[in-house]
Amino acid sequence: MNEIIEIPLERFRDEVLKLRTEKQMDFLESLTGMDWGESLGVIYHLESTVTGEKMVIKTSTNNRENPELPTVSDIWKAAELNEREVYDFYGIRFINHPDMRRLYLRNDWVGYPMRKDDDPMDERNPLRMNNEETIDSTTELKLNSDGTLEDQENIIFDDREYVINIGPQHPATHGVLRFRVSLEGETIKKLDANCGYIHRGIEKMCESLTYPQTLALTDRLDYLGAHQNRHALCMCIEKAMGVEVSERVQYIRTIMDELQRIDSHLLFYSCLCMDLGALTAFFYGFRDREKILDIFEETCGGRLTMNYNTIGGVQWDLHPNFIRRVKEFIPYMRGIIHEYHEVFTGNIIAHQRLKGVGVLSREDAISFGATGGTGRASGWACDVRKRIPYGVYDKVDFKEIIYTEGDCFARYMVRMDEIMESLCIIEQLIDNIPEGSYQEKMKPIIRVPEGSYYAAVEGSRGEFGVFIESHGEKNPYRVHFRSTGLPLVSVVDTISRGSKIADLIAIGGTLDYVVPDIDR
């Protein structure tokens, strides 16, 4: 675990700017709001895509009444939404952040629920029966040149703009996400993402649960990366406790992660095709995804939320049929994927709809922290499996799929090629699963030693990270999940400006976000 470097508030902006320019820390991996009792602060996980160096910094303020921290959203665009999240939960206002609205909670919410002294259940926040009012302006805490602070009102949409709602109930947002889009004819002028319609406060819930209990919630974040999410949390806790899991468990977890990735990418293919109007292709993907779900069902008992990984191992040993069925699936999938390409990839209309649409540059991808297939389609080698190998990824031979165009078609092709790579990984592992126990003996009550820990896996749609700060209790002091989807949503505005409303559907489809993972 990297040591957390504390930077005092006064020097923070200068130090951070120095890190960005001199040490080329261009990737803000994770931004976590914290409440340490007497002080409120933020932890930043930074990484350099040039040197590969990682570092963790934090800053804090003792002013609990009016906590104010300098923003880093002009240095890393990823901070734009993350700082709004911190404001939402901790009430920390970021100086010079252009948009200080709540991100997840309603605008009329009272208090900041993640603060340790705030009780979100009290009578200040009853179940409201009226609709939330949409506000078209936002405030910014502006630092004037003479050092004084003032509130400035920024307009998001003015009265004369033709603003339509895409969502929260809309077929193409794949869940309850809401975009407010200002249109000129069919062309998108500006877009404002509104999150929080499925916010469940999972991070807050984790603080009052024991470690084994928190596991159940990770499957409900990105439901197409259930194994991977849980893998990350288990890995983080195991790392903190110094538990070594057996070789067999590593193999099982890796195979399950890859099956999950194929499952997710097949669903991606289906939904993208459906959004673009190719309904037949939709059924192709679902037909084959079913086979993976059947394999999961046999071993895990579940099809969507599998609850399979546990601290120190996995819940049950592999089903006797598992190896045979996986081995049947690999050649089947390889044989049938040409149908996918025939019905959709090669189609001239599909090319017209995807090529050159929604181009995300490599710089933007890094700055927004858009990892996973989206980042790799922009030419950024961001695969956690290669950067920080975990499981048995260091023992298998696989390619990291990278395209450089950064458009929708590249994002689509990355995922289609990754299906083949995942099959390749599984093929190398499935015959060599070593014997051994599938679970380490753990104490009935798990206490994680004091400290803070971070672990990341490559989820189906990007880097999924878990940050835990423990005070040695049986429940965590703070758990933060690095959402894979939030950076993807934050890039939508940038890459969809100037394109048609139909392109927004293609962009949303190829970014491949999953809403419960954004809202947490």
């Binding site: 077929p171 069919e186 109007g277 017209q352």
Partner: protein
């Protein structure tokens, strides 16, 4: 016969009513067949079985759906332009029925048959777009409005290609009356007689006709993943049913016009010189020929719809104005030359 019992005016009136009822009945029955066909065809394309619970092979499914739609509440909207909102589905369905009555189903079974039949059909079918625009405007819904605007741009553009490709065939046929058009194909269908330009016109007509009906890769006005349901988002019950019916019947109209103009309508397949073969073909009744051809074209349209993704609005207009219109114009000139020099069969 009726004129001996009553004054002529009344007789004509009764005749009109009877024929009108017949048309509407046939319209409804055809819609039911088409909807069932679409469900089954698309299911088989998508590795599914399609409806199979209600009745044998699900054959009662559509009737059940019709009953459901008939008894559903028609919701009225706040802040909508009530008159236009309720007028819209009727405009669409009237345009569709008018066009439908032009189609000659069998020898002597054309309801509206006069010397500018083709022209009338084009004119009548283009009223439908007014209904769609009204629906979009009257609904007081931004999605509906975008859908209606798309639809307007698309249908009016593609009308041009439909017109030009039919015009190409009119040059070859030398008449605009449907009964004469069909009679003219007794010695070979126009698609064979007019060879290359006729084939080009056929393909262009199919593409443009598909766009006219808002189907297949051209279903942007209702693009459910972008605009939820486009111009008919706010309609319920039978008002929605009218849009739905009109969509299927328009597809059938497009198919049957293609069958009439290019594939000989109810005229059996004749080969000049093979008299015995021709006689055998004549034993098959004309309406079977007609429906066989029309449903073949319908199947082609469904095949396209269930294979292709949807186009974008600028691409749709580019396809029309940059490709289809110039090609049809050149095609028209070629056809004129061929007819002038007698190069057709």
């Amino acid at each position: 016969m009726l004129t001996s019992l009553m004054p002529e005016g009344l007789a004509v009136f009764i005749e009109c009513v009877v024929i009108g009822v017949c048309i509407i009945l046939m319209y409804a029955i055809l819609a039911i067949i088409l909807i069932y066909m679409e469900r089954k065809v698309c299911a088989f394309f998508q590795c599914r079985l399609g409806p199979n619970r209600v009745g044998k092979w699900g054959s009662m499914q559509v009737f059940a759906d019709v009953i459901k739609m008939l008894i559903k509440e028609i919701i009225s909207l706040k802040h909508s332009d009530r008159f236009l909102y309720e007028l819209a589905p009727y405009m669409v369905i009237i345009a569709s029925i008018l066009a439908f009555s032009c189609i000659p189903i069998n020898k002597g079974m054309g309801v509206l048959d006069f010397n500018v039949g083709v022209f009338f059909l084009l004119a009548a079918s283009s009223i439908g777009v007014v209904g769609i625009l009204l629906a979009g405007w009257g609904s007081n819904n931004k999605f509906s409005l975008i859908g209606a605007m798309r639809s307007g741009a698309q249908i009016i553009s593609y009308e041009l290609s439909v017109g030009l490709s039919i015009l190409t065939m009119v040059v070859l046929m030398g008449t605009m009356q449907f009964s004469e058009i069909v009679e003219g194909q007794a010695d070979g269908w126009f698609i064979f007689k007019g060879h290359i330009p006729a084939l080009i016109a056929f393909v262009i007509y199919l593409i443009a006709g598909n766009a006219e009906t808002n189907r297949g890769p051209f279903d942007l006005p209702e693009a459910e993943s972008e605009l939820t349901a486009g111009y008919h988002t706010e309609y319920s019950g039978m008002h929605f049913g009218f849009f739905y019916l009109a969509e299927y019947l328009n597809m059938f109209i497009v198919a049957s016009v293609a069958a009439t103009i290019f594939l000989g309508g109810w005229m059996p397949f004749h080969v000049v010189g093979l008299d015995s073969f021709n006689t055998v073909m004549d034993y098959i009744p004309g309406f079977i020929w007609f429906f066989g051809k029309a449903f073949f074209v319908v199947f082609l349209l469904m095949w396209i719809k269930w294979t292709f993704p949807r186009l974008r609005i600028d691409q749709i207009l580019k396809l029309e104005w940059k490709y289809l219109v110039p090609i049809s114009m050149v095609n028209l000139v070629i056809m004129v030359l061929i007819v002038v020099f007698g190069l057709h069969f």
